[in-house]
Structures are given as C-alpha cells and as structure tokens.
Amino acid sequence: MRLSEKQWTLLILAALIALSPFFFPSSYYYRVGSLIFVNGLAVTGIVILTGYAGQISLGHAGFAGIGAYACALAPAHLGLHPALALVLGAAISGVLAFLVGRPILRLKGYYLAVASLGLGILVAMALANESWITGGPDGIKVADLGLRAVLKSQGLDLSNTEFWYAFTGLALLIGAWLALNLHDSPTGRALRALHGSEIAARTVGIDVARAKLAAFVISAVYASVSGSLLALQNRFITPDVAGYMHSIEMVTMAVLGGAGSVLGAIFGAGILTMLPQVLTVFAEYEQLMLGLVMMLVMIFMRQGLLPSVLRLIRGRGE
C-alpha cells in the first residue's frame, strides 16, 4: 500500500520521537528533545496560519504566555487542576484571538501582523507589570501536572525528563495529526486557496475573513497549549515566554524549516532549539542569528529548508 504524505509525516515523526533516545549520550538530551517538541507544537500552529493561509502573526508568544500563566495562576487561585488550567488557557487564547482577529481580518494587507505584534507586547507587559498576581519579571511557580505520579502508581516509573519527553512528544504528534487532517480538508483547501488568490477564493464562495479567522484562532490555541506545556514542564515561568523575541523565534523556525509543511516546520523548530544548546556562540548572539537565518532563507530557499532539499533530491531522481 502506498502511504499518503500525511501518513509518511506521522510515521517519520513517531519514529524520530521513539528512536532518538537510543542515541542520547545523557539524560540532558531528553530535556532538549521536549523543548523541541514544545516549540514544534507552537510552530505547527504557525504552519496553519502562515503556511496554509499566508497570514503573518508577530505576536503568537502572547498566546503562549496566556497558556503558561493559566497553568501558573488557575491552580493557585481557582483551585483548578493543572490539566484543566491548560484547557482554560487555550479557551482564553482562542476567544482573545477571535475578538482581535474578527475586526482585523476583514481588512486586507499586513494589519494582522501589526495588530498581533501589539497584542503580544501588551500581554508580555501585563505579565511583567501586574506583579501582584503574576509575580512580575522574576516569574512564578507552576503546579505539578501530577500525571507522572499517576503513571508511577500504575507501575510505569519514568524520570522527570523522560516523562516530559514522552508527554510533549505525544502532544506534538497529536498536533501534527490535526494540522495534517486540516491540510487536505475543505477548510484547509479554503485556506490554501485564499493564500493563492484571495479574489478567486471569494468568487468560489469562500468567506475569506471567516476562513482567516479560523486559522488565527486555531494557531493561537496551538501556541497556548505549547506555552502551558512549557510552564508545566519547567514548574516555573517568566514573562519572557510572551516576549517579542519568542514570537519572532516561532516565525523563524517555521520559515527556516518550511512554513508550508508540518514536518519541515518541526524540523526548523528542532534546528533553532538545538543550536543555542550546542553552540554557546549562538546563544549569545541569538537575535543576530535569527535575523541572519531569516534573511538567508528568504534569499536562497523561500520554501524553507526541508521542501527545498526534498525538491533537490526529487529533481535529481527524475
């Protein structure tokens, strides 16, 4: 049986997640892996917004911030279970994206990029300044998800890093599966159609503003869940999660790997998450490096690393 692109992507992703630990020199790499998966999840949301629908957000870290702080604040103040706090954060992010996107996405052009930039900065400022509840720039403690203890009582004893590696890996797989379902569905086709020609999309009956709004809301939920998982994993969170640089990072990861392809974008998240861990030079000059990467990709491989490489291989094969 021939596998579809969706099945290939999920298979490759599952294999990478399952087999990589056999090559880990130390348990530190579980930690790097789960960071890649968390970033990969946010970037998969960017694929839906930017890769499918062609819309650009420069404030998605704001939604990650909402997701992260929901997991810090809702258990402490509302007595909510951390898992429900994640759901609450996703709901707030989705509603906020809806409210902001609805008026903005009726307009053509780069309004979404500018509006989301403002929204992201606003969320980051609120998190840093409202220290009476958020703990301010120093950050805040996050409750334990508690799932590891449950697994332990069932006889599955994982170390903290192993657990988070598996858990975020699973979340990434689910996120990728949803995004791939969407790609070939009527909604995904409408998004890709309006990306290709907005005017033609309208004449075939696509409600362009509504379709863009759906993409924006879905991608906001992805970012929010990613932020929640980061917070739950670290058991601690600072307003940096909502910072402007984090938004730029998400877009750069997607663009580097290939915003049009789920596997490509996750690949991009992998590279840009690993580099600062491996090369201290990269960590020191991260902002400079991100800018450089973005420029080089735009000049030499507009489609991103993975699609460009695949095209090269296929081109030679013919």
């Binding site: 569905s185 086709r189 033609a200 004449t203 075939v204």
Partner: protein, 261 residues
C-alpha cells in the same frame, strides 16, 4: 421566461474619471450575451461591478429578480453567480485537481472541527467534491493533468481549468472574461463548444471576448461599450452593421491587429 441577470444603469468613477456610465442590459437563461468594445472601454470594470469586486457608484444588479448590488463575491457565489478572470486567478501551488475541487467549496465545506479531527463526515464531503472535480476535468480535457501542479500548465490549459472551477459551482449565471485570450485555434474551438454546451443546459452566460469570430458565432445578443458607455446593442448581424460600432470598435480593432502584428 424569467430574466436571470439584469443590469440597470450601472456606473462607477475612479478619481473623477467615469470608467463605466449608465449601462443596462439583461441576460436570460440559456442565453449568451457578449460585451465587446475597444481596450479600456470598461468591460472588465463592468464585470467587476457585476461580480461584487467593485461596489458600483450608480445603478442596480439583479440576480433572479433580487437586488444584489454591491454584495460580496462569496455571497454572490451562494446565489448562483460564478466567473473567470481575464488575467488568470489560479491557485498556483495547488494541483490541477485541487483547483477544481476548490470550486466545490460551498458544497464541501462544513464544520472546522470535523475537518481538524478528520471525521468521516468531513472526508465524505471532500471525496464527493473530488469525484465531481474529476468529472469536470474530464469535460475540459484536463483529466490527465489532474495531479500536476497548476502553475506548470500552459496558458490555454489554465483558461480551461478556470472555466472548470467556475462550473464546479453549478452556476445559474456565468461571467467569462476573455476565455479564449491567448489560446490557439484548436483551443478556442474547444472553449467555444464548451460555452455553447453550458448555455444549452440553461445557464445565462455573460462573455467578454476579443475574438470577434467567436463572439459573432456564439452570441445571441451583443452589448457594445466605448469609453464606458453603451453605444449599441442587438443581435450579431445588427451590431456588426451599426456605423457607430464600426467606427469605435472595428476601426480600432484593425489598428490593434496592426499593432499586435
């Protein structure tokens, strides 16, 4: 017979310049009405007003008796209007098949959640649209190119693909903006047959076309525009004898032919 499309006193100005002024005509079911005129006469502007891309400055557009002036293209699509573009509007990075499937949007779209989860309902809708699209591609002789990237097709093939996508909406009124432009004689004849066939099934067709032989051959009624105004209308024989038309249109057409070499 009920009038499908009725244009009444339609007009628009851009920065004080009257692009189209007081144009009226009607199109009945199964009828092919052509709009002709020299370059810059306002034909495409007229199309853009009828199809909701521009909001008319004056006048009314009625679809099956209902006033649809200035409503959005996606709502017009729901009411049975469909169109193609003079300067192709193809979804370049999609396959040929997917371009045609996109034409089935109104039939295939449902809940976003079902699409995300890949529920059977969502897949059924998509499969039905794909099946319809395959048949349409067969009809415009593009079935063999179905899995190719649309951007790699020849100009004539893209023109046919655009018509197929417009037909996917199962329209009551079809607006074709220069469907034969850039096509060779064989392709033009194919498009010609296709248009006649679609009209025969009861669709009202409004056509802008520079190929005068084609226009004279297939139109029931011709509207002539010059400098945004309707200067003549009637059946092909009447229009081609009209001195105003000969002066405004056929005269410049001879120049055009010369200029294009």
């Amino acid at each position: 017979m009920t009038v499908l499309l009725e244009i009444e006193g339609l007009g628009i100005s851009f920065g004080g310049l009257r692009a189209v002024n007081d144009v009226s005509f009607r199109v009945n079911p199964g009828e092919i009405v052509s709009v002709i005129g020299p370059n810059g006469a306002g034909k495409t502007t007229l199309f853009n007003m009828i199809s909701g891309i521009y909001k008319p400055g004056a006048g009314r557009v009625r679809l099956m008796g209902e006033d649809v002036t200035g409503i959005s293209p996606h709502l017009l699509a729901r009411r049975g209007m469909s169109r193609t573009f003079q300067n192709l509007q193809i979804f370049q990075s999609m396959t040929v098949l997917e371009n045609a499937v996109a034409g089935y949007h109104l039939q295939e779209s449902g809940s976003v959640l079902a699409d995300l989860l890949g529920l059977p309902a969502s897949r059924r809708r998509a499969a039905a649209a794909r099946e319809g699209a395959r048949q349409l591609l067969e009809r415009v002789d593009l079935a063999r190119a179905a899995e190719m990237e649309a951007g790699s097709l020849s100009y004539g093939a893209l023109k046919r693909l655009e018509i197929a996508r417009a037909l996917a909406l199962n329209p009551k009124v079809l607006l074709l903006d220069e469907p034969a432009a850039g096509c060779n004689a064989v392709e033009t004849e194919e498009i010609d047959h296709l248009i006649a066939e679609v009209a025969a099934s009861g669709v009202a067709i409004l056509l802008v076309e520079h190929d005068m032989k084609m226009v004279m051959r297939i139109s029931r009624h011709i509207v002539v525009l010059d400098h945004g105004e309707k200067i003549a209308e009637g059946d092909p024989a009447t229009v081609s004898r009209n001195p105003k038309v000969i002066e405004a249109y056929l005269g410049t057409q001879a120049e055009d032919a010369h200029a294009h070499g």
